[in-house]
């Protein structure tokens, strides 16, 4: 009696496990389908967005070659460089802003602290680019909307408001034991020294996380770049370039190149993202263990 019960429980468990794994496999396929699709398309030899079969009829590397050599209409290498330069500046400036503000919010006590936190929360409720037009006019008024100043303008736009996004780093700093700070103060350290010599060295995961997120922002943003660059194709970032390739006049000849470009942008971003994920998890776990 008892044995049969365990046997039937075993089969039941086996069946439910099988169902779960099959479901997970199906879901994983659905989730990975677009990625798989774009990789296939980037090697597709037939041009145009119209396809008649899932797998390409013949494979080629020409799409990648054309993406990096055909610079007459859509200059992808230049877009790539533009984005890279902007991203590097963003990473440095935004990280500095975010880390300073987070440290102040977490460790220093001053009159404007709570009001500032409330302000940051309220600002977060406005639609992000509601002010976009206004920012554009402000940049125009200080002469940053033309020519090579567009790059400076984009850097300013991406970094300007970054100080308001301090929540995650503040949460991390909150986990560093205050006793460490107090010990340093007893040894005669100033607050600045505590910040640079105690807090920063203990915060590697969150620093890497902050740098990576701010580095990725210009690669992922589409709308700010579009409003600020307008028609000036010389200063396009990759996201506008890829968007352009799918416009009606380009899609037929550029669709497969778009896929190649998408792969080129996605691979570094995906690697950074997965690296960042580990840092994020580590950061959430707190600074000093035990």
């Amino acid at each position: 009696m008892r044995k049969r019960e365990t046997a039937s429980a075993k089969t039941r468990r086996f069946i439910s496990n099988t169902i779960v794994h099959v479901c997970l496999a199906v879901l994983a396929v659905i989730w990975l389908f677009p990625i798989f699709w774009v990789i296939l398309t980037s090697f597709r030899a037939e041009k145009g967005s119209y396809v008649s079969s899932f797998f390409p009829k013949s494979y080629t590397l020409d799409n990648y070659k054309r993406l990096f050599t055909d610079t007459t209409i859509l200059n992808f290498p230049q877009m790539f460089m533009n984005t890279l330069i902007i991203a590097i500046f963003c990473a440095v400036i935004s990280s500095f802003f975010v880390l300073s503000v987070s440290y102040c919010m977490s460790r220093l006590r001053f009159k404007m602290r709570k009001p500032f936190m409330n302000l940051a929360m309220v600002l977060g409720l406005f639609p992000g680019f509601m002010s976009m037009i206004a920012v554009y006019y402000i940049l125009k008024a200080i002469g940053l909307s033309e020519g090579s100043m567009i790059r400076v303008a984009l850097i300013l736009v991406y970094t300007g408001g970054s100080g308001a996004g301090f929540y995650i780093a503040k949460g991390f700093f909150d986990t560093i034991p205050k006793a460490l700070d107090e010990a340093a103060y007893l040894d005669g350290a100033t607050k600045f020294q505590v910040f640079t010599k105690v807090t920063i060295p203990l915060s590697k995961p969150i620093i890497v996380y902050t740098i990576l997120t701010s580095f990725m922002a210009p690669w992922l943003d589409f709308i700010f770049a579009k409003v600020i660059c307008r028609a000036d194709a010389k200063y396009y970032t990759v996201s506008i370039g890829l968007w352009k390739m799918l416009e009606k006049e380009y899609i037929d000849s550029w669709y497969t190149c778009f896929a190649a470009g998408a792969v080129c942008v996605s691979i570094p971003i995906a690697i950074l993202f997965i690296a960042m994920q580990n840092m994020y998890v580590e950061g959430m776990a707190g600074a000093v263990k035990g």
């Binding site: 468990r13 439910s16 496990n17 779960v20 794994h21 997970l24 989730w31 990975l32 677009p34 699709w37 774009v38 967005s49 119209y50 396809v51 008649s52 079969s53 899932f54 802003f97 300073s100 503000v101 102040c104 006590r109 001053f110 404007m112 929360m121 309220v122 600002l123 409720l125 406005f126 639609p127 680019f129 037009i133 206004a134 006019y137 008024a141 300013l156 300007g160 408001g161 308001a164 100033t190 607050k191 600045f192 020294q193 910040f195 992922l220 589409f222 709308i223 996201s239 890829l242 968007w243 896929a259 998408a262 942008v265 996605s266 995906a270 690697i271 993202f273 997965i274 994920q277 959430m284």
Partner: protein, 463 residues
Amino acid sequence: MSKIAEKLGMKKRVNYFETPYTFRNAMKEGSSDVKISMAVLGFANIKNKQIAKGLLFLVIELAYLYYMFTNGFHCIAMLPSLGTREAEKVWNEAKGIYEYTAGDNSILILLYGVVTVAITLVFAVFWKSTVCSGYKAEYLKARGMRVSTFVEDVKDLFNKNLHKLLMFLPFTGICVFTILPLIYMITMAFTNYSKEGNHLLLFDWVGFENFARVLNFGGKIGKEFWSVLGWTIIWAVFATGLNYIFGMILGIVINRKGTRFKAFWRFCFVLSIAVPQFVSLLIMRTCLQPQGAINVLLQNAGLTDHALPFLTDATWARVTVIVINCWVGIPYTLLQVTGILQNIPAELYESARVDGANAFITFFKITLPYMLFVTLPYLITQFTGNVNNFNVIFLLSGGAPTPVGSTSGKTDLLVTWLYKLTIDQQYYNLGAVIGILTFVVLAIVALSTYRNTGAYKNEEEFM
């Protein structure tokens, strides 16, 4: 009064930062030096041996006054009318051609006006703090205490006043690139700045007229507004709710005891968010077109005989964007909840099993309430994020399908409609109104819930 406040649950505010050097004390007890330094900034500081500091104050005051007399007053004076001179054709006798005189440009007048008002407000705050600083120097000197030197003040920036040093640049950035543009945009809501009636160059204040137009049920814009608002809320509720529940179920399924290769499954789903959103969304958009890959493949497989209107029929499009958003959002939820799910005490599940509850009941009676309790702030952020979810709608459907003669499409959210109204159609005033109304909707939802969550209330008391 205080009793009412207590009943409302408000605590009496305790000011931990009280000093005797307040502005009121400076007015009441400051000597004539302090009073003079209200007009000549830094006078009291200079008198009390803080010469460098006092001179610095004075220089800033002079710079402000110089700006105001050369530009500032003119800018403010132009604000009420926002400019009246139109660009005119003038016959130039000498050259024998028509020349255009530069007319007023209201948008610039408004910008300079707003900036000047902002500078004046900043200066007012600065002015108040210099008076207090002068009074402090005098106060300390009168009581025979040390008055800090300029070098000491600079050193203090790295110690006692570190927050001023660290916050200065980030805060300036926020002011210039977030707050100032917002104020500027908000002022636009009260003007007739739009292509209607040729008001792109010269426009005037119209008070609350735009708000009345947008909120009016009867008008054309009003009807669009209420239907877009309705869809925005439906979208936000579904997008947030479905992502949350399905993400959690996925998390539970991956974490359950019998599942193998947990890390592999998680990696599969995380990989889909590692790809930039605009890439995956643009691919989906091309695949979902009537002539796109999915339709072609379905037809070739003989599953349908005509193209499915994924993004061309209103109802189809609405369902499609919600489903695609699940594709985008579920992995995020999975990442967020995995850790928390493991923290749910196992005893709860065991006792539920003893009581004979099945998986379904356990989920709705144990997992969901526990998760809701812990992740409410996250859920609210998600909700506001979805109301403002520009990317998914703009890149996927672009708001389409758009009825003829309408400014908004059937899948347009308030934000994407705002984008269309301003960038494409140049109804800047209506765009600004919609931005403000979006904020109001979000503020009501967020503040009423967020402020009541534990995470906000217990953000550690002062230590």
